[in-house]
Symmetry: C2
């Protein structure tokens, strides 16, 4: 039943919205059953998925895509097993729905309870990572949400194959196939239309680089949760344990430079800079980390160090590049963080109790660390079991977003004729 | 210290943002002290406030503003006492900040705690109700947030007088005067610029009619919380207690038709329509309520009833007007609500247990009632002590927004050298 007044995108979105209404009244067991069938069918139909993925890879190679991007695009039997395993892990997580987190009986006898409900329809817009198609859809399903997905054009065949498998699994579980909707038209115009699907989308979550996030914030009229841009800092206070500081910064920079919780800029107290920076440089040299430094950094480490510009400080390189600024005191470090932070993860390394307290209180970020690597900001590490992204905004969700963050609430009030005075 | 690269609006917003940083590290006591001084100074300087308000009223009368709007614009000594009393009530509410609502020690020994923090800078855009200037500012202060206010141009003198009193009170309490910022330029262009103050505003809350909300949703690039549009329904099931139903609908329609939790459309089961509608009409006639009805309503009540159009069903009249549709069953009622509801407050009147459960589960709204008036959706009635608005969206806040909904959280992780494997 198509409404002739609707665009193809709206028609799809309307089907997804209808599916969300059905999903809203399913039991946890039904939703887990659907996810379980997805896990099974991913393995059963892996051949079809791999063939579709091969088409994407062939096209990507023809278009001269970078090897790193091709790696992210590539599916293998092992990776499909990994995706299926992730589905099974989601099944084992507690159902975030139906919990009553607040309730009371009003003076007039009205019984009020606030219960967790799904958000409804979650839009997710992402880049050429086909695994996100399944990961995100399954987290939405588990939390009772339908989803409308738009992945990068490079992964369209893989995404369509995954969506086909999920639709079949949903049908087998007795749920509407449109609980998971994929936008097959990967044009920019359609992306912009998606961002303005008020009345269909309850929230839009962009997952990807700074450019994608910016485009969504700029163009969306539906509510957005910004995710994943991490220009993270570590401030090394005077009196910090320098051996520990070398280990932590090495970990935060080089254990996985491409991720949002990796450190980008270090701020070093001038009292220890002369002793500390050569130690750190020696360690980071093992990974060929390139430095960008302030004048004092250059004075200490030599002019082989490139100067750090304002643009460097503002950039999330996601690479083996580190910026370094020597500061006079914590005040200057906090001011720098205030100016450049994307409010994702920030750390102080110190042995001063008062400053540790002041830093955690004053620095405005989703996660603030004392004497630990910023790399821990992650749903799995935080014990949430799974995450759909890391929110860098303050509304609704902040930091790693688990199932809990994919819910809203509803007040239910049961009475026997109450009217307001 | 003004930055020559910033517009006047950005300069103001930057001052408010700086004030928010100070506010973030104040104690509950300091913030309560500031609010207490505001309450005192409102009375001390009421003469100045009333003179400013008289200028607004004189201009409004010259511009032919409606009596209802003039009433909302008007301040009197009694109303100022009421505003001061409301400030004192906010002081008595518990501090929403600093609470740790989640915490654990990770396997590696990292101590993690999630604490409630202010949102930062809250933008509020509203119409010609000068009391909102103080009410909103005080709720923001209590919850540690700075605010940037933009009220209707008709109230500009009153708003400036209120803001002056608040600035002096803040200074007396040792807080930055820009904890409360008022945009004095009431042009539409400035309003649009305000909606795009990314980097300064953490959230924008529009308080006003549907037109204002729509303009904000359409133009804002900062996160928005939609409030206050209530196209509310009451479904009268067959077997409902009809005497109770008359009382509830009378209350929901006529006790205060101008507010968002008043009912706009009733949906009546066909099995009882013939008995019920004349009873209801007789009661509503006492308040000269005008009816818009479906064909069946017209058949029962006579063709003196105007026909209800699609536009009627979609309109929040906020007036002594009621729409009525006779439905075949609850299914049709839920479908109607799905189509026209603004997801504010919806009610079922029934004696059928199963349907009461199904209605509350399936109807998607901030508050869903069984056998009670929709008029209870309100921060005060819900026991929140105060409210800054009633959110009709699902992200971050839903329903009445108290102090709790003006907070975000932050994860603090304290370690002793942890690095990620």
């Amino acid at each position: 039943m198509t409404n002739p007044g609707l665009s193809p995108l709206e028609t799809l979105a309307a089907s997804v919205k209808e599916a969300a209404k059905v999903l809203n009244i399913t039991s946890s067991q039904q939703r887990n059953d659907a996810i379980s069938r997805i896990a099974e069918n991913l393995l059963l139909y892996q051949e079809e998925i791999l063939v579709a993925n091969a088409a994407d890879i062939a096209a990507a190679k023809k278009n001269g895509i970078t090897p790193a991007m091709i790696d992210r695009l590539t599916l293998t039997p092992e990776r499909i097993i990994g995706i299926a395993d992730a589905c099974r892990q989601v099944i084992s997580l507690p159902d975030p729905l139906g919990k009553a987190d607040y309730g009371t009986t009003l003076q007039n006898g009205l019984e009020m309870v606030r219960v967790k409900v799904p958000l409804g329809v979650i839009g997710i817009i992402y880049e050429a990572r086909p695994n996100v198609t399944v990961d995100a859809a399954v987290l939405c399903l588990k939390s009772g949400n339908a989803c409308l997905l738009k992945g990068g054009k490079e992964a369209i065949h893989s995404n369509m194959a995954f969506t086909k498998v999920m639709a079949q699994s949903l049908a087998e579980a007795g749920l509407p196939t449109h609980c998971v909707g994929l936008i097959e038209d990967t044009s920019r115009e359609t992306a912009t239309q998606m961002m303005r699907l008020n009345g269909y989308l309850d929230v839009l979550i962009p997952r990807g680089g700074a450019g994608l996030i910016r485009a969504v914030v700029e163009n969306a009229t539906v509510p957005v949760i910004e995710t994943g841009v991490g220009n993270c800092h570590i401030y090394v206070d005077d009196g910090a344990d320098l051996t520990m500081a070398v280990d932590i910064i090495d970990n935060a920079k080089t254990s996985r430079p491409s991720v949002c919780n990796a450190v980008e800029t270090i701020l070093v107290h001038e009292a220890i800079a002369e002793e500390f920076l050569p130690l750190l440089k020696e360690r980071l040299d093992r990974h060929q980390v390139a430095w960008r430094g302030c004048k004092k950094t250059q004075t200490i480490l030599g002019t082989v160090i490139q100067p750090a510009t304002e643009a460097d400080y503002a950039t999330e390189y996601n690479d083996y590049i580190i910026c370094c600024k020597v500061v006079q005191h914590m005040e200057e470090a906090i001011a720098h963080i205030d100016q450049y932070s994307t409010r994702h993860s920030e750390a102080i390394l110190t042995n001063d109790y008062r400053r540790s307290q002041e830093f955690t209180r004053r620095v405005d970020a989703a996660a603030v660390y004392v004497n630990a690597s910023t790399r821990f900001t992650d749903g799995g590490e935080f014990g949430f079991g799974a995450e759909i992204g890391i929110s860098t905004q303050k509304l609704h969700a902040r930091g790693p977003m688990g199932l809990e963050q994919l819910t809203s609430w509803k007040y239910i009030l049961r009475g026997n004729g109450q009217t307001r005075q």
